[in-house]
Symmetry: C2
Subunit: 481 residues, 2 copies
């Protein structure tokens, strides 16, 4: 595909953190992307000059607008285009004239339409940007979400910054992942919806993010790659530095067909992908939930676990059994309690010590005067060399509906959070989802989760998902040892 | 284990739908099971007489209390015991004297403690109930939740009745499943937490529920069985009548060890279970989420699908690709649109018809004047002999955050629901979870889901879970053909 060589990618800052931005196709209509991009630059606090470009409007959202790029008095490093594809070649010529460095094309209807005229226009776009030395993100993409740099594409996206970078061929997917991971406390270095990947592609982005010292976790939703060898080199290089989690779209015939009409991607065989990802040290996932669960694990768990031995507390007897099954099926170990912990429990609960196991069935301890709490045993596990990984089931469904439930739940969560804060071992908390039509219940669970998330702790909605994430995390670290 | 033969199980009504109930160990303390059981009988509207039994209190929650069973003037068919295990033999003798038919023992600390004295007491309990011809539920169980008969064990459990029966060795698990499935519109014929299964066991309950004409779907959380052959016979018989979904706890060594201290269950090998369940025609699941997803599928999908061909609409291009992949990986087919549907679309959207595929990428249709909506294509799929199964992605994350989002979301959901209401094909709706700390967003998603659920429609939180449930549903029906 390259008509002439692309300029080498350098670092995130020079390519995707511009000092000045023009929005071409800016709009006063609050229900249009040309309005959203502008509004985001203002509301996310972009520090440099912002130039709306519109043929007739003198002002949009209180910002002075310009009829074209040439009329803008200052430098323009970055252009966001929302105009229809018919005007795109003219715009690129104007960008070249103005010395623009990077162009982001929300503009779509190129090769993804499956029509020859769209594909031909796309090829011409590439020729022009290559000739002008301009880098291009898209077309057919939502583009950058970089809350730390004051750029986004939807005003309702979260402002939270953090160590995760997500590159995605799907704008909608990017929106969903950002919203649903925010609830789990995930902050972003950058999320980059890159659409048809005409110029800047997954390999470029992996290079950029692999070398970016503030990016600690990389996620990628990829429908197809243009240059398999370059992609795998970039993946391997990035994977040496940090965990790279890949959600491959178009794994099946129908999925691949769908990917063609989405981003004109050539999806490739599922088996080839699976093997290649494994060899490159990447972790393959098959849903947004799995992607987000691993963002949580790699963001909040400490650097490397000492082993595979899980200690779990909280929830009733059923939950204890489920935790043991789920962990074991993920290849983790769930050893019985050590003599040391058993004798500590014996001192405090002479009536129960011989009955309590690992996982700890909270309902055994629920009676009045049990002498020992789930949190107390969690603390013993934290301090014991017998356990490498911990699971803390909040068990909120049991607490809610009891008298004084808000205070009780808060007490449990505070106590659990305190243990997590001082833990050098990964602790997976199980809580939620806060998915209830009952407002009080919803609020109680949201508050509990916010408390954990604000303490920098990893929260999972089910014990099975917690076990799965722990398993992936352990295997990834073992693969590097 | 049987010391003398158990009386034959007959029907649900005679065993578990008593005309009169005594709660022994009733309590005025609102934070105790002895209070909860009583309060539930009142609040769930149990129609027969309710007798609190307490040594000293003359009245509890406005009901006249009795010092013992013998003092109760009327018949007592059913006894719920919350007293400590030390008083249990005396109570059983009093039950025999009074002519009680069924005893439910919340009372625990029997064989599940792992102590010989607990096991011995349990054996003696069995001898006494067998000698007296009393049937016993438990010990160490929460017991019945039968909102249609006015019985439950927690005041905060849902009142919704319906065609699902759930038997579970874990009380906590029962609570969780009831709460999280209510959100999805699942109503219960009965949920039965049966603990240590000393007398009434999984085989009895499968017999009862298999023969119960109002039960259309059976779920079971089982940690171990006492009589494998009898269990498999009961499972096979029930499975001939209706779908039986089994969540087996204690599949692994650690899980089995945990099950022993939970319900004294002998868990058995995972491979043996897997094979036996398959042979008996049951569907095995590995989490509460899977269990609930199948309750939704078998409650709301019509009787039998005509085939495996899926049509899907809604959500952006990434969602379309994910839907195609997930369905294909579940063994379903995702064919391209038929010429007939393509020509219908062509008439209304001459600019887009050649670009739209199956799944339908909603973002292609989102532009003004597209001429055809996702719902319109869903309707074409509904009327076309080309499709057997439908997926409707609500795509609420894209709508929310747009201007006028509440009205728009409501419009989409109303339109989708109208199609589902008249559909003879299963339609899986994808929406949620309503898991956001933002109150407006939470409320919008909850309202949308409530609208779908109240229309008797199947809602799944992700497209992967929708595809998985459709796959299980199709395979189950194919297995019976």
């Amino acid at each position: 595909m390259p008509e002439s060589a692309a300029p080498p990618t350098t670092d995130l800052a020079s390519l995707l953190r511009p000092g000045s931005i023009a929005v071409v196709g800016a709009s006063a209509n609050p229900d249009s992307p040309g309005h959203d991009y502008l509004r985001c630059l203002v509301e996310f606090g972009f520090a440099g000059p912002v130039y709306p470009v519109h043929r007739r409007e003198p002002e949009i959202r209180g910002l002075k607008a310009y009829p074209d790029l040439a009329s803008i008095p200052g430098d323009v490093e970055f252009v966001i285009s929302c105009i229809p594809s018919g005007g795109i070649l003219e715009l690129l010529d104007a960008c070249a004239e103005k010395g623009v460095r990077t162009v982001q094309l929300f503009t779509g209807r190129f090769s993804e339409t499956g029509r020859e005229e769209g594909a031909e226009l796309e090829r011409e776009v590439l020729r022009r940007v290559r000739a002008a030395g301009i880098r291009l993100l898209g077309p057919n993409c939502m583009g950058l979400h970089d809350p730390g740099w004051g750029i986004s594409f939807r005003p309702d996206l979260p402002r939270r910054t953090g160590p995760v970078a997500f590159l995605s061929q799907s704008g909608n997917n990017t929106t969903e992942v950002l919203l649903h991971s925010d609830v789990r406390g995930i902050g972003y270095r950058a999320a980059i919806s890159y659409g048809n990947a005409l110029d800047i592609d997954e390999a470029d982005l992996l290079d950029l993010l692999g070398n970016d010292s503030e990016t600690r976790v990389i996620g990628a939703y990829i429908e197809g790659v243009r240059d398999g060898r370059r992609f795998l080199d970039a993946l391997r290089a990035a994977g040496r530095e940090k965990p790279v989690v890949v959600f491959k779209g178009g794994r099946t015939g129908a999925g691949a067909r769908s990917a063609v009409s989405h981003t004109a991607a050539l999806a490739g065989s599922s088996e080839v992908w699976r093997g290649a990802l494994r060899q490159a040290g990447a972790i393959e996932v098959h849903s947004q939930d799995e992607l987000i669960d691993l963002f949580v694990a790699f963001t909040f768990f400490p650097q490397a676990p000492a082993g595979r031995r899980v200690g779990a507390v909280g929830g009733g007897g059923g939950r204890a059994v489920q935790a043991a099954d789920a962990c074991t099926e993920e290849g983790l170990e769930v050893p019985p309690l050590s003599d040391d912990i058993r004798s500590q429990i014996r001192e405090r609960a002479p009536d129960l010590w011989d009955w309590i196991g690992n996982p700890v069935d909270q309902s055994i301890l629920a009676g009045a005067g049990a002498g020992v709490s789930g949190a107390a045993v969690l603390e013993m596990m934290l301090d014991s060399p017998q356990f490498d990984l911990l699971i803390a089931n909040v068990g909120e469904d049991w607490v809610l509906g009891r008298p004084d439930s808000a205070r009780r739940l808060n007490h449990i969560v505070e106590r659990f959070a305190g243990i997590g804060r001082r833990s050098q071992k990964p602790v997976a908390y199980v809580l939620g989802p806060a998915d209830s039509p009952d407002e009080e219940r919803w609020r109680a669970v949201e508050q509990a989760r916010t408390l954990l998330v604000d303490a920098g702790l990893a929260v999972f909605p089910t014990v099975e998902r917690a076990a799965w994430a722990l398993g992936c995390y352990v295997r990834w670290h073992e693969g590097r040892a």
